[in-house]
């Protein structure tokens, strides 16, 4: 296949899966492609892309990722978030890899595997997820999520039955193995928790250095009443990697969605999280931390939609910008007309370590109900000279003192991750970053 620029979006749909799934699935894909064509490839003239310029990515000539090389569990990255005795699903270049995954350890009531397999066997029961209003809205307003929908063919399906409480985290690993030239993949994840189900997911995205891998991921999260999902993600793509991801979470009554994203790797990352608080008493806590250095661009964009009364949300993001690293945070809280009793908070803090670093922040409140308590805060600045002086006066050298303060700064956000093992693994990754080893160091 010849390489095509990303923005041209010539549909290299998998003919095998395209034929399956009946009329409705074809219609979902078609709606995705139409949505993309209508909106066009994002440019800085799109308000939502004001600070993240994709034009270089759009011009990149890409192919479909190469066939997955034969890998074994020994080839998995050494600096994983979780040990090997945890149930895991591994995706290479957006495709499920059965040999690398370990589904035997999945507890009862949990079904997980490849989206492609489900699309070929029993796609019908995914229909409510793919056709829910939030997914349709994403197709209409997020051009690249629409494109992903157009190419929907493989990725993750994870379903947890009502009332099932999963002990310990599940591990999901996404690997990018570069091809001869740049590649583009559109992995799609569908995560559904039944009423009262509980789970923690530790998700990582990483890649091998080489030709750029462009990942255009969309993850649907649907939480039933009283369900609780802790969704922890590490975005540590290869230095040339581009990661454009959207999470679309629909949160039912009294359910709780805890999202945490630590972004360290990739040349350009756009992490978009949209949460729809869809039932009374729903809660969402969307947090994250990021660190960018030379030439890196990290964008976190969060949209929390308070569609019902008495829902609660909070956002906390902390970012460190080094060298010519650039950080972007766009957070929006929408409180709809009748969403009385809403509690919505948001805070973004950025630490600029060197001249040349840049941060652009757009925290937004859009409020149509009066009985609300909403606030947002944003700060940007350099390291506190007094704190630095204090540490140095205690005999700590400047280098170490700086590293300590950077870690402490990010740790503020990391502490919101409830699972201890995952939190420690993330802290370790932050230290790796400090040591200048942000990208994965594994062998194939």
């Amino acid at each position: 296949m010849t390489a095509t620029p990303v923005a041209a979006a010539t549909p290299f749909l998998d003919p095998e899966t395209r034929a399956e799934g009946g009329g409705w699935l074809g219609a979902v894909r078609q709606a995705g492609l139409d949505g993309y064509r209508r909106q066009g490839f994002p440019t800085p003239r799109h308000e939502a892309w004001k600070y993240t310029n994709l034009s270089a990515v759009g011009r990149l000539a890409v192919e479909t990722p190469p066939a997955v090389p034969a890998l074994t569990a020994a080839d998995l990255p050494g600096d994983r978030l979780l040990p090997l005795d945890v149930p895991r699903l591994v995706f290479v270049n957006g495709r499920f890899s059965a040999p690398l995954s370990d589904l035997d350890r999945l507890p009862a009531g949990v079904r997980a595997g490849s989206l492609r397999a489900v699309l070929l066997t029993d796609p019908g029961h995914l229909r409510p997820v793919l056709e829910r209003p939030q997914a349709q809205e994403a197709v209409a307003t997020l051009p690249l999520a629409a494109l992903n929908t157009g190419f929907l063919s493989d990725g993750l399906v994870l379903e947890i039955d009502a009332g099932v409480s999963v002990e310990g985290p599940l591990h999901i690993i996404h690997l990018s193995v570069p091809g001869e030239s740049a590649t583009l993949a559109h992995p799609r994840g569908l995560i559904r928790l039944g009423a009262g189900a509980r789970a923690t997911l530790a998700v990582s995205y990483s890649g091998l250095p080489g030709a750029p891998s462009v990942i255009n991921a969309v993850t649907d999260v649907v939480l039933g009443e009283d369900a609780h999902l802790s969704h922890v993600r590490l975005l540590a793509e290869a230095p040339e990697g581009v990661h454009i991801g959207a999470v679309l979470a629909t949160v039912g009554a009294r359910a709780r969605y805890d999202a945490f994203t630590l972004t360290l790797g990739g040349r350009l990352v756009r992490n978009e999280i949209r949460v729809l608080l869809d039932g009374e008493g729903a809660q969402a806590h969307v947090n994250g931390a990021y660190a960018a250095r030379k030439g890196q661009h990290i964008d976190n964009t969060v949209f929390v939609d308070h569609a019902v009364p008495n829902a609660k949300s909070s956002q906390l993001f902390k970012g460190v910008l080094d060298e010519t690293g650039r950080g972007v945070f766009q957070g929006k809280i929408l409180v709809r007309r009748d969403a009385q009793g809403t509690d919505g908070q948001q805070l973004h803090q950025a630490l600029l370590l060197t001249p040349g670093a840049e941060v652009d922040i757009k925290p937004e409140l859009q409020i149509y109900a009066d009985d609300v308590a909403c606030s947002h805060g944003a700060t940007a600045g350099e390291m506190d000279a007094e704190a630095l002086f204090y540490l140095q006066s205690r005999g700590i050298d400047e280098e170490t003192a700086r590293a300590l303060l950077v870690e402490a700064f990010l740790e503020d956000a990391l502490t919101t991750v409830a699972d201890e093992a995952v939190r420690d693994a993330l802290t370790e990754r932050v230290r790796d970053w400090q040591r200048g080893r942000a990208q994965a160091t594994w062998n194939v």
Binding site: V359, V372, G377
Partner: protein
């Protein structure tokens, strides 16, 4: 009237093609509807402007043709037909009411609530022209002379274009260029009036300057242009508007205000805007699309914007500061109150260019009824803004469950030593506070006015004293009918 045969001939020389019907219109002192190069030549000729001014207007007009009306603001209004507007109409003395007895009692009630003296009420209601009031004239004339003696230039901008072309040419458009935005560009092409202020070096202007004293120019047009220059070490406080409700037959207002502060100069610009907001459905209210910008060009200069916005159906306004000089300071204090169907999209831009520049933004928004209000602001720290600081606080208060309050700040920092802090809250009037006031015997409306005044206090305090007192009352009046 100066529309002599000579003017007509000049015009013909300039345009080269003059239609007969047009000449009649000159005599009628009103340009035909629509916007074209001919109209601009006509305006320029009527103002007896020099060639460079006309050229500038035409450049702006040609650029305007390439622009599209902005749609990013969170306001909706019917499509404006820019060719269906008179861009020039000579101020005429209209037949007003003969005495206060003939004036709308509702208007009089508002005046008395604001505590406006009887003589001033007569002026505001149009019973008497300002120049007919003996006191005012003498006061104004005295002040004018006093100011002139000190070297202050305070005159209509059209006069400044003729009398002080070197100053105007140097500074006009230097802060808001003719290419700036749709409405500002249109203003450049067609502005007919406004104020010009020049404060000479080292002078602290001894009185507040206000359009109120700029007699003969009370009928400020819909495309106003204000230019204020504070030379090195000078200081001036300028007041725009008044608390009394103002009705105007022009629905579209697109003003431009430019402030320039040189080394160690200070400019304080206060606005109280209470234009007709339309009926309860917002019909017929004024559209206020204003571009206001100040440049702190010199070291240690300071520009301070204070605004109390209670009127207009649609407000689109972002008084901004370009902090170019080292150690310069920009301030923005704003109270915006919207009720019924009013819409306001307002805020500020603070562009930190120089070292150790500081800015402070305090915005208080109160939305009631079915109104919609947006704070939209930008704080930008450029790479050279070493040690710059910004603190922004925007609070919104919602009264009733049919209104909307939005906050859209943009924060861009490209200097690690620059410190930016932004905080925003949205809430409604606390039930506890309301209950406390009610049980102390205040009526619901009094209680709301009291609480809202407390909410805005930080901003109202920055107004010049005589404005502050009236503004407090205005806050209460603007919210009438929003509770209970």
């Amino acid at each position: 009237m100066v529309a002599t045969q000579e003017t007509v001939e000049t015009l013909q020389d300039v345009t080269g093609q003059y239609k007969y019907g047009f000449v009649t219109d000159i005599e009628a002192e009103t340009a035909p509807k629509g916007l074209s190069e001919d109209i601009i030549r006509f305006i320029s000729a009527r103002k007896e402007e020099p060639e460079w001014m006309l050229e500038w207007r035409l450049k702006a007009y040609r650029h305007w043709l390439t622009l599209e009306e902005p749609t990013w603001a969170a306001v909706t209004y019917p499509v404006i037909d820019y060719q269906n507007i008179h861009y020039y109409s000579a101020p005429k003395h209209k037949e007003g009411p003969k005495s206060l007895d003939e004036v709308d009692p509702e208007l009089l009630e508002t005046y008395s609530k604001l505590g406006i003296p009887l003589k001033e009420q007569e002026i505001l209601a149009g019973v008497v022209a300002v120049d007919a009031v003996f006191d005012s004239v003498s006061v104004a004339t005295t002040y004018k002379k006093k100011l002139a003696d000190m070297g202050v230039i305070f005159c209509p901008i059209s006069e400044a274009i003729r009398e002080h072309p070197e100053l105007v040419q140097r500074y006009l458009g230097s802060v808001v260029p003719y290419t700036d935005n749709f409405f500002a560009t249109m203003n450049c092409a067609v502005f007919t009036d406004g104020s010009f202020v020049y404060i000479p070096k080292g002078l602290r202007c001894p009185m507040e300057l206000s359009t109120y004293f700029r007699i003969n120019e009370r009928n400020t047009g819909q495309f106003e242009r204000t230019l204020i220059i504070a030379d090195e070490g000078s200081e001036v406080s300028y007041l725009e508007g008044c608390t009394a409700p103002q009705r105007d037959e022009n629905q579209l207002h697109a003003a431009v205000v430019e402030l320039i502060a040189l080394d160690n100069a200070r400019i304080k610009y206060s606005t109280v805007q209470n234009w007709y907001p339309g009926d309860a459905e917002g019909r017929g209210g004024i559209y206020n699309f204003v571009t206001k910008r100040g440049a702190c060009r010199g070291v240690n200069s300071r520009i301070s914007w204070t605004q109390v916005e209670t009127g207009s159906a649609v407000t689109w306004k972002y008084p901004s500061c370009l902090l170019q000089g080292d150690n310069s300071v920009g301030e923005f204090y704003s109270v915006a109150i919207t009720n019924n169907a009013q819409q306001a999209d307002t805020g500020t831009k603070m562009i930190h260019i120089g070292r150790n520049t500081r800015s402070r933004i305090v915005s208080k928004g109160i939305a009631a009824g079915r109104s919609d209000q947006t704070y939209r602001g930008l704080v930008r720290m450029l790479p050279k803004a070493e040690g710059a600081r910004n603190h922004t606080q925007c609070d919104s208060l919602l009264i009733g469950d049919r209104c909307g309050a939005h906050t859209v700040p943009y924060i861009e920092s490209r200097n690690p030593s620059a410190k930016v802090e932004h905080e925003a809250t949205t809430s409604r009037i606390s039930d506890d506070q309301l209950f406390y006031c009610l049980q102390r015997g205040l009526s619901q409306e009094e209680a709301v006015a009291l609480i809202v005044n407390g909410f805005c206090k930080e901003v109202l305090q920055t107004l010049p004293m005589e404005f502050a007192v009236e503004a407090q009352k205005l806050v209460g009046i603007s919210l009438e009918g929003s509770v209970g």
